[in-house]
Assembly symmetry: C2
């Protein structure tokens, strides 16, 4: 099977965008990729929402030969079949992969935004993405799909723009962060902000890099993405040099792995520290029930999409219980909801990894989405009264 | 009830101590406190082993008016009844509260040890404490008791000095750290060591303080001591100012709490960063089964103490499953073991907090210890054949 070759495009919006914080952006750019073809009635468009460190390059191979972060699930003949669907993914506002964010130029100063980029919320992301929808000529997404933070964004779409999507696929998400979730984010933020090379966020201007802080944040993130069991079976207590060293160098394989992940993120992947802060803050703030008397059922009352909700047994960042909250609130509204609790050892990361049960459910659901997106022949729906 | 007033004493050992690492200390001091009276046949002595950030001041009120860290459980009429027992607690070697460690003077250089203090292990702690036992005139401890890291030290005692204790009380512990446990320790160590004020461990000489790194390490520690549920019910998503601020100041109560804990630890409590590194490393290294073909049952084969093992349902740092491993290995040896899995919402911290079930079991067991330590009158054991 030939690989999907993709190049990003950019939507430039010249109208101001009002943000949840009260601030506004004079305009913004969203970088995005598309895969497959939009059909004649524009009924087969799927929007993918990315997770904390994700971006618009979700599938295929980009100009640098890099595979998309969910390429295992999106492509010709795959779970989200690009022979059937027109798939779209954009880098969130505040990101660092091409959309307007802390690393882009602030038109008001001519310098990079850095720490002056305003705090954005999940709602702001959805509002900005809705411009992309209009630009692409899509009246209604066949489905919006996302895992983790992306799953929260799907919920926000379903609540704020109920008519703009037929299906919502919410994977490994939660209706809001717990105190423990917020606490992990806060430790990560402290790690970044207390790195002297963070330079109060002006590290690009000062030509420094808060490498240590960002590495720490990423190490901590990884710790919460993996399950205890999975780390146990992958690393156990295996020693790098075969015996104890009695010093503070890397000794256990798990230390080596985490340190490598942290450094790669901060250097080779060059993730922006201000973006990391923004994304964690948007996660902390996500709480769609808050403006509905803290009642998630009320928050979801207007959502008209059909839902697939998926959780993974060993995910302790957003455990199955967190998905149950979403499912219960949907059922309170007699929504059309499918739910699967998938057995997996891989913790929160499971949503990105191969898993027969998960793939089966997800693929079957996407076929249902496809049925709903194909103009009815008149014989599929109805016919016999029974 | 009048409060127990205590002052520490110091044991000065002038013989060299061979360490597990191969290094040796020319001599060392252990600071300790005692509570209650040693009885005539020295059969009522209890040794308490402290956890990562603990010290010798376990009970009563010290010269500065500060209560001991386990005062709720140790004192006249309490669970470990100082009217019955002679209770001893020492600060571990490598500690920073008065025992020889990174903050004390290296006799070979005349400067503080700092990073030159050798890495110590749980076994080294036990070896050094055994000198304290001899000094106090105790042939055999009535019991050795500890929670968390202290519980591991109890296990090490039971394995290395089986004749030196009659009872082992191992609370909220594990037979070794999991990959996840090690990973958390490693992130904490990275936080400390990447703080420029750590100055490669020579912060005392340079008159700096790795406050940010140590605060981060402590914040992360706290996160693993508390359960998700407990943080939820204590803090939830409560905002400090009542509404979102859209900046990176402290917003959620849980952030405020963690930041306060971190700063207090690094400044007011002035915990030594090198000691923190040493203690986490000793935890990582603890694995008594390693030299017994990784078979905990074999490691415990020579242990002759009677055991009480206690775990707490919401403890995810050292979950009940980790205690099960200990209990199973003891049962493989037909050891005399009692086990309790205590319902608690308080996570790992539960071992320090009031809990009726826990207190009941613990007190009952200590009464059994007391029976075993009181010279038999001849009528308690035996008499009637039945």
């Amino acid at each position: 099977m030939s690989e999907l070759s993709v190049s990003p495009q950019t939507l430039k919006v010249e109208d101001p965008l009002q943000l949840s914080s009260g601030a506004s952006l004079p305009g913004y750019e969203l970088i995005y990729e598309t895969y497959g073809e939009l059909n004649a009635d524009a009924s087969n468009a799927i929007l993918i929402c990315h997770a904390l460190s994700g971006d618009h390059h979700v599938a295929g191979v980009d100009d640098e030969g890099k595979k998309g972060w969910w390429d295992g699930y999106i492509g010709p003949g795959k779970t989200i079949n690009t022979d059937q669907f027109f798939v779209v993914c954009s880098n969130n506002l505040g990101g660092c992969r091409g959309s307007t964010g802390p690393t882009t130029i602030n038109p008001e100063t001519g310098k990079v935004y850095g720490p002056d980029f305003p705090i954005v919320t999940c709602r702001d992301w959805v509002n900005s993405q809705d411009r992309l929808r209009a630009h692409l000529g899509v009246e209604q997404w066949a489905a919006i799909v996302g895992g983790s933070m992306g799953g929260m964004q799907v919920l926000q779409w379903a609540i704020d723009y109920p008519d703009r999507l037929r299906h919502a696929v919410v994977i490994a998400a939660a209706p809001k962060l717990s105190a423990q979730n917020i606490a992990f984010n806060e430790v990560a933020r402290r790690a970044i902000m207390s790195d002297p090379d963070f330079a109060e966020g002006r590290f690009i201007e000062k030509d420094t890099l808060p490498k240590q802080g960002l590495s720490l944040a990423r190490m901590l993130g990884h710790l919460t993405y993996l399950s205890d069991d999975m780390m146990g079976s992958k690393f156990g207590r295996e020693l790098r040099e075969g015996k104890l060293q009695y010093n503070y160098d890397v000794e256990f394989q798990v230390e080596s792995y985490l340190r490598y992940q942290g450094e790669k993120f901060a250097t080779k992947q060059n993730f922006d520290a201000n973006t990391y802060l923004l994304m964690t803050k948007a996660l902390d703030y996500f709480d769609p029930a808050a403006e509905f008397e803290h009642d998630l059922s009320k928050a979801l009352a207007k959502a008209s999409a059909k839902f697939l909700v998926v959780s993974f047994t060993s995910d302790w960042r957003f455990s199955p219980q967190r998905s149950h909250e979403i499912v219960k609130a949907l059922l309170d509204n007699d929504a059309n909801v499918s739910y699967a609790e998938v057995e997996s050892q891989h913790g929160h990361d499971a949503f990105l990894l191969p898993n027969t049960h998960y793939e089966g459910i997800f693929s079957a659901y996407m076929q249902r989405v496809y049925q709903d997106s194909t103009p009815s022949t008149g014989t599929l729906d109805g016919g016999n009264a029974e």
